[in-house]
Amino acid sequence: MPLSIHDWPNSYIGRSVPRPNARRLIHGRGTYVDDIRLPRLVHVAFLRSPYAHAAIRSIDVSAAQRSPGVVRVVTGVEMAKHCKPWVGVATHMRGLKSAPQYALAVDRVRWQGEPVVAVVAQTRAQAEDAVALVEISFEELVPVADMETALDPGTPVIHADLGDNLAFELRVEAGKVDAAFAEADVVVEETFHFGRNTGVTLESRSTLADYCAGEGKLTVYMSSQAPHMMKNVIAKHLGLDEDNVRVICNDVGGSFGIKIHTYPDEMCATALSVMLKRPVKFVADRLESFVSDIHARDHRVKARLAVNRDNRITALEVDDLTGIGPYSAYPRTSAVECHQVVNLTGGAYDFANYRAHGRVVFQNKNLMCQYRAVGHPIAFSVTEGLVDAAASKIGIDPAEFRRLNLRADDAYPYTSASGLQFEKLSHQKSLAKILAMMDYDGLRRQQATLRRDGIYRGIGLAAMIEVTAPSGAFYGVGGVPIAAQDGCTIRLDPTGGITCATGIAETGQGSETMVAQIAASAVGVPIEKVRVVTGDTETTPYGGGTWASRATAIAGEATLQAGRALRANILEVAGALLQSAPADLDIRNGAVVDADTGVERMTLSDVGKTVYFRGHELPDGVKPELVATRHYTPRDYPVAFSNAVQACSLEVDVETGFVKMLKYWVVEDCGTVVNPRLVAEQIRGGVILGIGAALYEHCIYDNQGQMLNASMIDYLVPMAVEMPDVEIGHIATPTAETVLGAKGAGEAGMGGAPAAVVSAINDAIGVFGVRITAIPATPLQILEALGKIDKKGQ
């Protein structure tokens, strides 16, 4: 019986190893894009549209051009010659339509914040001074600023060529939905609203493009999650040979999906480097980030749930309306979030009748696209909101109601009503575990006691599934050049050290550490002897980058396979040198040993030195390959689903509407865990993001398409004082599709936290007969729900 990866001697898999690449960061020696200086570097700043929708009447750049330090001023017409527009559609999103998007607006501006004029100068400050001198006149047009009326006959159509403002529509139907609702004993129906959010990465989007005229080679230092994808996009739209484009991602100061899209300002900066034949840097400042980083989560969902007399859910119906920007973002499309909502709502529960209708409409607001846990917070807020409403209506404990309805742990493999294929999940075990961890019954008793004193605590629950490690069925099938596979090349050096190059990216989650742990375990070296290279398209295998929680499941498996292959190669050489059968040897702690006794026979350094420097010592016929590459792509399942359940305890001050987070719990099942601490920290970070969405974050737009709170003073992000500690529990149901058995875990925290928090708020204020169904659940909203103040008119 072969040893499992957990049993390999000196295996690092399952150990909370500190991150080697964190050392330079705690010494203040990271290399983020803005830290890089190049000779003749110039900076670009943009004049951005002040209007949500307007025609550009005239632009006079003469004063700007004369401003001190200015090198070049470019408008949309000229930029279009250097950078071709892109269209954010994909063939597998049938019917998705969008218009060409230019790097700089041409003729019209379609969202407040759209870049219109680029000014290049010696310093950023000088570029901004010159932007202020550009004379531009607009003719305002009526903006489309309300998704509910975007499709009304009287509403302007943003792109006349497209015919209407409907970007995408999706319908799913399974079972006998109408019959199920007609026969149901209990039906609950709610309308949910989700505030627009944005990522607010602390390092804002940054690009430093360096075109070398002599070589015709373009190097782009980017703060990005997907270097290979960007290489392709840049080459395609700048009309360059893709082989002459190199993208390098060093340290990235947070991304969460924000830095995985094609942005006009970044494309512009890159094109300018080619035009000017010198390095051009663009760093979005915080104010422009709010109106240019992609937004997400702007949804209105009407949904209803049918429950029979056995307290079993029989049917779910969902109508999702989402208002994106004037374009579907590229290349991942702005249809995916709606698609996920339609796919995932109800996903943890067992019922046969499901109907969903999703519509994506264009608006004159900032673009929307994938942001951490795409669609999950909406899907599970809707699901858990209905589940709680049903439990309340029936008069059954919400935990018990979930226990009755979550899919059984032995129901697998299983295909859901919405067509999701599950290999094996652990909802019931997870629920039981979290209820024990949090002492659910104890919390209920405490809640009752405190209520008598006028203190209103709430206990919230949220069960969920998480999309991880998607196969080519996600993007590739739609003609989008985003890799679903990933690779790892591992090389042994004469020092006895190994170097792993992989196509995923590191943006702080610890993907490099994960690779190092797996490689060290698979080859048999101490982790100190492992170097990991990521983020450089020149030096890494062609890969997909890091997104959709794919790194461990996909690149981790590729690393494991490559490590095993290298180990076999090393043992073949060592066997020949030592005149032993490779099967009688092992590699442990950086040395070749007798498999049975563990006695050291030669170090890996010896093997390396012999091969590299003293090849004449090798017996005839031995062809040493001290480097191995393996690629892995998921095939059996379109998505490797993981599952989690979240819970929180909070207190609502019913006099003020303020919510105080007390404690939070998550039980996560992501299969094999390579580094427990890193997984726990991903969950914690995601939970706090989700609490932000639940209580604080909202891109507030007025009816003229103007964002009213585009600064960190008015867009509220979670800070340390208000956030709880999060206790994490773990269950492991490995996937059988890979040797590693890992699924993803990076987004679960965010996916379920908004649902858990609202569940708790409603549990607290339910005694007053009120519920909230909109996030962020601000004090204003809670006071209005409680009737402490009158609801203001729309």
Partner: protein, 161 residues
């Protein structure tokens, strides 16, 4: 034309003499003129704490301080307090607890935590969160940072002398 000003100051123990435009912020000066890129820019409105530095022994926002105002001052950045070993216990705690992911907020967090531990040798978790209230982190959710500061405080209190 507005004239540059000459400023003389000490940065991480080194004497620095430079000419700066009045409008240049201290954070930009330290990053651009001195190449000390360990302190970061996050918002330029004084809210996120990424630019936190030490001026004359006090924590300040580099984005809300002009370089000209630092004439005659004694400045310390993350590079200085790291190289001197001053924050070794904090750094060990941060590493062990994975109190950083992308690392962008980390210099500001370390400066601010060091400031807290200067005055309070055994801060409670609430006191730690309170002192870090003006330092934004998007990755960690703050708990591991609180854990790390708590660990460092214990190490410094127990292991001193």
């Amino acid at each position: 034309m507005i004239a540059d000003r000459e400023i003389t100051l000490t940065v991480n123990g080194e004497r620095v003499v430079q000419r700066v435009a009045p409008r240049q912020s201290l954070i930009d000066f330290v990053r651009e003129n001195l190449g000390l890129t360990g302190s970061h820019v996050g918002c330029e409105h004084g809210v996120c704490g990424a630019c936190t530095m030490r001026v004359n022994g006090l924590l300040v926002r580099g984005c809300l301080t002009l370089a000209v105002q630092a004439d005659g001052a004694d400045i310390h950045t993350i590079e200085g307090i790291s190289d001197s070993g001053e924050i070794a216990a904090l750094q060990a705690g941060f590493l062990e607890r994975n109190a950083l992911q992308c690392g962008y907020c980390t210099p500001g967090m370390l400066l601010t935590a060091a400031d807290l531990l200067k005055d309070k040798s055994s801060p409670s978790r609430e006191e730690i969160r309170e002192h870090l209230s003006g330092n934004y982190c998007r990755c960690t959710g703050y708990q591991s940072i609180v854990d790390a500061v708590e660990d460092a405080a214990q190490a410094m209190a127990g292991g001193s002398s």
